[in-house]
Symmetry: C2
Subunit: 151 residues, 2 copies
Amino acid sequence: MKHDAVMLMGRIHDLTQKWLRGELAAAGLSGIVPSHGDVLALLFMKGEATMHELAAFAHRTKPTTTVLVDKLEEVGLVRRMQSEDDARSVVVVLTAEGEALRGSFAAISKKLASRVYSPLSKDEGEMLEKLLTKVLSNLEAAKNAESAKSD
Amino acid sequence: MKHDAVMLMGRIHDLTQKWLRGELAAAGLSGIVPSHGDVLALLFMKGEATMHELAAFAHRTKPTTTVLVDKLEEVGLVRRMQSEDDARSVVVVLTAEGEALRGSFAAISKKLASRVYSPLSKDEGEMLEKLLTKVLSNLEAAKNAESAKSD
DNA sequence: TGACAAAAGTTAGATGTCTAACTATAATAG
DNA sequence: CTATTATAGTTAGACATCTAACTTTTGTCA
């Protein structure tokens, strides 16, 4: 056992992020980065979402999400609207241009999965997901335990 | 198969990096981040290293490595020296203060591994490393193939 | 040997992300 | 109802990282 799983995951993370940037640029979406993809992903699923929901889904902070949506709005892929229920809330929706990219994003996402899973058999792929899920759950549990301690 | 391994690795990466920052701060090393730890790790192993070697080991670019070493020098953990063999090269060495931290870094590193591996059996830990190694090798091979294509 | 390419390192500028502090609105408790 | 607290979002400032361009030294090859 080399205890190098963290390092390996870090490297894989770096390479996949870098590759994704290249794919997005190749799709004509220069200035759009993987985090923007996460924001769009939720909009493709739900149609609309508040800043709060987008931040939670993309695992980014609220200020970061503000910047992400600023950019997407600037390039015309989404639009901010006032919520009717809650005057504090902003509702983000896809524009027609944003909706038009659904297919491209699905294709890139599929290509990424195939890139990562291709050296693995079906069983190995499932095993990897299972092990990573175990590790992540444990880390999140540990984190929650520690933040609860400070009460 | 959920094809979510990339997302899982990204989350695990985020959490471990954040935890590491906390540990470093708790060890009195505020301003020192995981990348500085990578730089120091090579120095703990080799005693001295050039900027080039440090960059390669830490998987960071040369400009980033310049900044990392600037910081470590500023807080007194390393020292830059001119190489005797090559006037272009800078040799980085640990100071006594840097050397004194060897134990703390080893402890943090061990604690990290235990945190990540604790929910896994010995077999599962080995399996995880094997699968991640396979995925990483494949990604690196693909990357090399693509960059070779542009000749 | 002399010119040109490669390599080591730094500087400058851009970018993505974070924390802290702020504004505005909603919810709650006396 | 009013005062306090909580929540949604933005702004400001810091920081780690990157790419591009530059300087200096070394290697190559005609």
